[in-house]
């Protein structure tokens, strides 16, 4: 098990956002957590990355307990997040944004090869490489955010609501890119999405989050076929 989370709780100023969530991701898997607005998806991902403290429970990553470790230590163990709304470094150039993603890794990865691989995936980033990141469109910032995480060769990629603000055509492209990364390049991905159909379509397994609790879990196909899920999340 690459990531195994048991009984995780997250609370903000005493208000519980996530309660007793348990889930896991095996090496090489692509797993989705789907849920409505405010269900607690972002809270879960941020707790896994260490960006918000967990109020209870245990997070194991790559065979070690990381529950109390700060985010930068988790990042060094090769966990990366593509956060909600991209959060690129607005005043840094596109290229510098990517370099920050490779921070501390210049001895272990071939930077130039990595960059050209990423530019192949996202050509717009090469075109804009010396522009400040804030001049990119929302969708381009999402691409930069993914590339910035990928440059580090992560073992686990956490992806928060990647489809937000993207046009349908681009949503498809981005999801295809994620599937490619998972299937062709073996990157393990935990995806959090409102866009349930698109994310389940590329996933191996999924969890349904309702008001901070895991309500349902199963293979992606079984969830897509589930009556309750179809009605609530797929609009079918």
């Amino acid at each position: 098990m690459l990531l195994s989370v048991s009984d995780l709780s997250v609370a903000y100023a005493g208000v519980t956002a996530v309660s007793g969530a348990s889930f896991s991701v095996k090496e090489g898997e692509l797993v989705s957590i789907i849920g409505a607005n405010g269900a607690g998806k972002t809270s879960i991902l941020n707790a896994v990355m260490g960006l918000v403290p967990s109020a209870g429970g245990r997070i194991e990553f790559d065979g070690a307990d990381v529950t109390r470790l700060p985010p930068h230590i988790r990042a060094r163990r090769k966990m990366r997040i593509v956060p909600e709304r991209a959060r690129v470094f607005a005043h840094l150039t596109v290229r510098d944004n990517l370099l920050v993603g490779a921070y501390g890794l210049r001895r272990t990865i071939d930077l130039d090869r990595k960059l050209s691989w990423l530019y192949g995936f996202f050509p717009i980033l090469e075109e804009r490489s010396s522009q400040p990141a804030r001049t990119l469109s929302g969708g381009e910032q999402q691409q930069l955010s993914i590339a910035r995480a990928l440059i580090s060769d992560p073992k686990l990629l956490l992806v928060d609501e990647i489809s937000m603000g993207l046009m349908p055509k681009l949503v498809e492209t981005v999801f295809e890119a994620l599937r490619d990364l998972n299937r062709e390049h073996g990157i393990t991905i935990l995806l959090v999405e409102q866009n349930a159909l698109a994310s389940l379509r590329i996933s191996n397994r999924g969890y349904v989050l309702e008001a901070g609790r895991i309500a349902l879990e199963g293979t992606a196909e079984s969830l897509v076929r589930d009556e309750g899920v179809r009605e609530a999340y797929l609009g079918i």
Partner: protein, 296 residues
């Protein structure tokens, strides 16, 4: 007139050095510091005491002075950098007042009477004053500017800028916020210490009030005016704020008012400073070069 010009220019060079230190803390690492003069003072007093009571030359004392500033930068900076950003402003003001009070009330530092008898700097057997001292200050300033330039291009500088831009995102990329904020803070305090040592030997006599809160405000005004986080902003700001009260003598009595007004005006109309991104001055410079106004 010429000696007068040299005197003013020497002060401007020293102030610019100190402002470059602050620029690393505020501009590159995004940490607001309102107590920078404390470290200017720690540098000056360390140099003064090592010279008068320790009998060391400027050159022999300098490494120690920088070390003292660095160590005190860590000790005073570490707790401040762990607090939330808005507290940092208050904590650093506090540091400034405490350090000034220590100079004022601890007899070892000479108290309100100040510390006198600090000798001139000797280089190759000559005592530096006038032009030669100015040249030394300029050389130190040049080294500091080169250091800043190198820092912005280094990986550590990139880490600092990432943290200044989005601390959470940076930390989720393996960058330790505390470590890099501290690095910037200490670099800034060490540079302030260099300015302090030059100041002490230039003046020969220093008092606690030379390093009070108003001086911190002035340092902040210098970098806000010139352009926070830019390479040439601190120099431009130091030259303008150093020369203005001299050119318009009546202004000298209203220095603080002038700095305050300038700060407000800049923040309102040119938040990036004179040399900041898309500033009026930068656009004019770009136009003169024949490029269009928005060229970077």
């Amino acid at each position: 007139m010429s000696t007068y010009f040299i005197t003013i220019s020497t002060f401007i060079a020293i102030q610019a050095i100190v402002a470059y230190g602050l620029n690393i803390i505020v501009g590159y690492a995004g940490q607001i510091s309102l107590g920078h003069a404390a470290f200017f003072g720690i540098g000056a007093y360390s140099a003064g005491i090592l010279a008068t009571k320790g009998g060391l030359s400027f050159w022999a004392a300098l490494p120690l002075v920088l070390l003292i500033c660095g160590v005190l930068g860590v000790i005073l900076g570490l707790p401040s950098l762990r607090v939330r950003e808005d507290f940092l402003a208050i904590t650093t003001i506090g540091i400034n007042f405490i350090v000034e009070a220590v100079f004022l009330y601890v007899p070892f530092f000479g108290g309100a009477m100040g510390l006198g008898g600090i000798p001139k700097i000797v280089l190759f057997g000559t005592r530096l004053k006038g032009e030669s001292l100015f040249a030394l200050c300029l050389a130190c300033l040049a080294i500091v500017i080169l250091l800043c330039r190198w820092f912005t291009k280094s990986w550590a500088g990139l880490g600092c800028r990432a943290i200044a831009s989005d601390e959470t995102a940076a930390s989720s990329m393996g960058i330790s916020p505390v470590r890099f904020k501290l690095l910037a803070f200490v670099l800034g305090t060490v540079i302030a210490g260099l300015g302090g040592a030059l100041y002490a030997h230039r003046m020969g006599f220093i008092t606690p009030a030379d390093f009070g809160f108003p001086v911190s405000t002035m340092m902040l005004s210098i970098i806000v005016l010139g352009g926070i986080g830019t390479l040439w902003g601190p120099l431009l700001g130091a030259v303008i704020l150093g020369a203005l009260p001299e050119l318009f003598r009546p202004l000298a009595d209203y220095r603080m008012l002038l700095y305050g007004a300038l700060l407000l005006l800049m923040v309102r109309f040119q938040p990036g400073g004179l040399l900041g991104e898309a500033s009026i001055l930068k656009n004019i410079l770009a136009r003169m070069k024949g490029g269009n106004g928005n060229a970077r």
